[in-house]
Symmetry: C2
Subunit: 529 residues, 2 copies
């Protein structure tokens, strides 16, 4: 490789020896700094609040409380926390709506040692409280959560279809804020209802509207204010709010999807879309292949559905058990569609064409909602699906939601081959898929045993098989829920060593002490994988 | 700042002393390596080809020929060039369609010393040839161009609305390739007609369709194969071709807009859109404010125009002089629209509503194209605008195309205040704007003097004033043409020191020897700014 490469390797080796490394964690000094900096109302050290922050809704990981929570009210607060944690060698994790499913913002980084795990609510058990606190502070990597949830300012630029929001604002709150003011704009990317913008940008996910509006990466986030681990504050686009710009690589894109490992987002400039009349329709098909073929026809025709959702026969069985719909549906692959056009006349015109596609593909007659109420009724099938699935297993039902995504041309094959895997596993695993994007959520269901802290082996095995099948079919392990802790093991096979190395290079350049949400997305280098 | 920060600063200082630096350029050895590696058909050392590659169509910078051009045929070829240039300390610049306007891919990096500038075609003047070659090779930073233009493979995944293209494919060629096969899909982002995908990704620009389809950053590029300066090859998404994924930050986004400074793109997975019927319409208004107000109404109604273009009275005067249209148009702010829907019935329905908006805003009656020919005739007004503008100044007309973009709420103010600046300058500067995005191109025109190598001071001054005005109005210096060499001076004021520092950090991490297209986007650290 020649002299230069040898020289570079030597230099790198020497530099590595000299590279900054985190100081020995000094927890007591950090707590003293935090207490000196923040009023009691912004600093939680009590077990009850820490336990609350140790959980993420819907995540199957054992809860892990942080050692302290700082409730930031401003960018300057975040800068202060960053400085204290850097100085004292304390791990720092941003947190918000706590809806991440893969452990993205969970405390104590990678693999919390067993003695640090939270083993159920401590309630008012004062002894337990003290005991647990001691353990956490004795950990070799005590963790501070900086919660952004209290940062909830919204600034609107209606004519520019823009809002500037703080990270604690939820997409639903923003939309309610707009509706309450009679402004006919909304933020169209719809992940979990409790998601806040900071975490949404961190995961860069999507929801039911991605087929129409794209994911969070489709220019919905125009600029970010970010606190970096050296304590500096950047606005990725400066004061520029224009719809387009080409001023070098877009540094905001580093933080979208980085799951809080590269910087802490304290403000977001987001783009809004006009609110349009929606029209929901539903039909079903003998096979998933026929459903896929119909969806490809709809997309090829250039129509603008916001959502194209698939529920399989098992999911529909759950819905029928729940008796939520006016009448039972045939228990076969069912496509729910939501169309969006400037007026309902155009929606109906679209749906007449869709009716033809459905017929050509052997589907049942298309049910089209005639009014707002029927829209809501039909959409209930989608909204209640998580809840109604539980009925398939009954009391004590637990759920592992998988999140693969495949090219639409491989979707029918994915479903049929994964049906075989489910059958072999003996488990129940209904499908809800964002069929227009090829994003398939099989919810693996089982009856949880008392005291169970992690999913049974058969569940883990099926989840792994589904990922491997998706990757074989040119798909991904993570369509919209991100990587966090639980999907890291699949990443090398999917992205290749080169891409991982590049991600590590960027991480090291931005967080040389590896204090910011370490061990998320990528394994820490000292972890045995 | 405490011990840790001091320790880090010390470590950084020591590391900087040890940091790899480019070896003394060894040009003769590099040429020997290149000759040993590539056949003569892939290596150009002759002045004629070098001169061709020293120019960029439409750029006002003095041409600057590279010292050699390698015509890559494969990713492996690019790896070989990277290795040779790294080993020998040679500056390496990727190149393609050479349509970049701001000197993005120009040879000899930042400020070519005068003796290296190309002073007109050498023709067959053998003495000049030798002379020039000597000078180039004597430069302290000899430059190799790696041209990607011969890499033109296209692979289609029709059902997935995807194409995998090599960087030498142009967006127009891809669309012709699809049309020739009867495939009703196209790539909708439309920068300069000669643009190739490698350079398009490098600049991350857009064109007339951005109001409907977004810019290149709106998920049109799904994955990249990139050669990094350590010789490694990454595929940013691995084998994953799914429509969506959330596998950490999207490393492809580092390269979009980085103008060839971070890696060399050798393959792109791009998304396609369905070809739909288009309908063009045109109207004009007494003032730009009324035109803007109409456009905001159209966008608020949720219609899907592909394009909303503004030509000012001066531009229309040029068109009238050119007599390209069946009849003269009123010389006042004119809006050209192109609507796109699944069928023409929907297009006409949209345009009936638009007719109302136009009337409410005091515009003239909307002219709607009745058929394909009338579509083309009306669109001529947009397509011929660059050419017809020249008539405003006459023979010897030269043009500096400006590229600011402002929030649409500030657009009318930008136009009226910039009209005053133009008036003061005594120059002619017609407007063509992508009004839906707030992206205003004022083309500053003047009669070039013989032997002129750069724009007159009055032209430079006006260009600078327009940028400063846009930045004052929360806009950008570069809506879609990128930064290159010519816009670097505006970047600090716009993005702030923090964002620039972050860009530098990433650049250093990926190209520690600073050999890959150095001095583009950001000033080199040793340049006097």
């Amino acid at each position: 490789m020649g002299d230069v490469h040898r020289a570079r390797a030597r230099t790198a080796a020497v530099a590595a020896q000299l590279a900054p490394s985190a100081p020995t964690p000094a927890w007591d000094a950090a707590v003293a700094d935090l207490k000196a900096t923040f009023p009691a109302s912004q600093l939680s050290l009590d077990l009850k609040t820490r336990n609350q922050h140790g959980q993420s809704f819907g995540s199957l990981l054992p809860p892990a409380p942080p050692a302290a929570i700082v409730h930031a009210l401003s960018t300057e607060d975040v800068v202060q926390v960053v400085r204290i944690c850097s100085r004292r060698g304390i791990v720092l994790i941003p947190t918000g709506g706590r809806t991440a499913l893969e452990g993205q913002f969970q405390a104590t980084c990678c693999n919390p040692p067993p003695e640090e795990r939270w083993n159920g609510p401590a309630g008012s058990d004062e002894e337990g409280h003290v005991e647990q606190k001691k353990r956490a502070t004795a950990s070799s990597r005590p963790t501070v959560h900086v919660s952004l949830s209290r940062m909830q300012d919204i600034r609107l630029y209606e004519q520019d279809f823009q809002a500037v929001v703080q990270p604690g604002v939820g997409w639903k709150s923003l939309n309610e804020h707009l509706a309450a003011r009679g402004i006919k704009l909304f933020f169209p990317v719809d992940p979990a209802p409790g998601s806040e913008f900071g975490g949404m940008a961190g995961v860069a996910g999507s929801g039911t509207n991605a087929v129409g509006y794209g994911t969070l990466r489709a220019e919905w986030i125009q600029s970010l204010t970010v606190v970096l681990m050296d304590g500096s504050v950047i606005r990725t686009k400066g004061a520029n709010r224009a719809r387009k710009s080409t001023t070098g690589f877009d540094t905001a894109r580093l933080f979208l999807g980085s799951e809080g490992t590269l910087g802490i987002i304290t403000e977001l400039t987001v783009r809004l879309a006009p609110v349009l009349p929606l029209k929901v329709a539903l039909t079903s098909f003998p096979t998933v292949a026929q459903a896929v073929s119909t969806v490809v026809s709809i997309l090829s025709a250039g129509m603008t559905p916001t959502s194209l959702e698939l529920l399989d026969g098992t999911s529909i069985h759950g819905l029928n058990l729940a008796k939520l719909l006016p009448e039972s549906l045939p228990e076969e692959p069912t496509v729910l569609m939501r169309f969006s056009n400037p007026d309902d006349k155009a929606n109906f015109a679209n749906l007449e064409i869709v009716r033809g596609f459905v017929r050509q593909n052997g589907g049942r007659d298309l049910k089209v909602a005639k009014n707002e109420k029927e829209n809501d009724d039909l959409w209930t099938a989608r909204k209640s699906q998580y809840w109604s699935q539980q009925l398939l297993v009954g009391e004590g039902c637990r759920t592992l939601i998988t999140d693969v995504c495949v090219p639409i041309s491989r979707l029918a094959e994915f479903v049929s081959r994964s049906d075989v895997l489910v059958e072999q596993s003996g488990l129940v695993a209904p499908i809800v898929a964002h069929i227009g994007d090829g994003n398939v959520h099989r919810a693996i269901l089982w009856k949880g045993a008392p005291g169970e802290t992690e999913p049974p082996r058969a569940v883990e095995k099926l989840a792994k098989q589904l990922v491997e099948l998706a990757q074989e079919l040119e798909g991904t392990c993570a369509g919209e829920h991100g990587i966090g802790l639980t999907k890291r093991k699949y990443l090398r096979a999917e992205l290749g060593e080169g891409t991982l190395a590049l991600m590590r290079t960027v991480k090291r350049a931005l967080d040389p002490l590896n204090l910011l949400n370490p061990g998320k997305v990528l394994f820490d280098e000292d972890e045995s994988v």
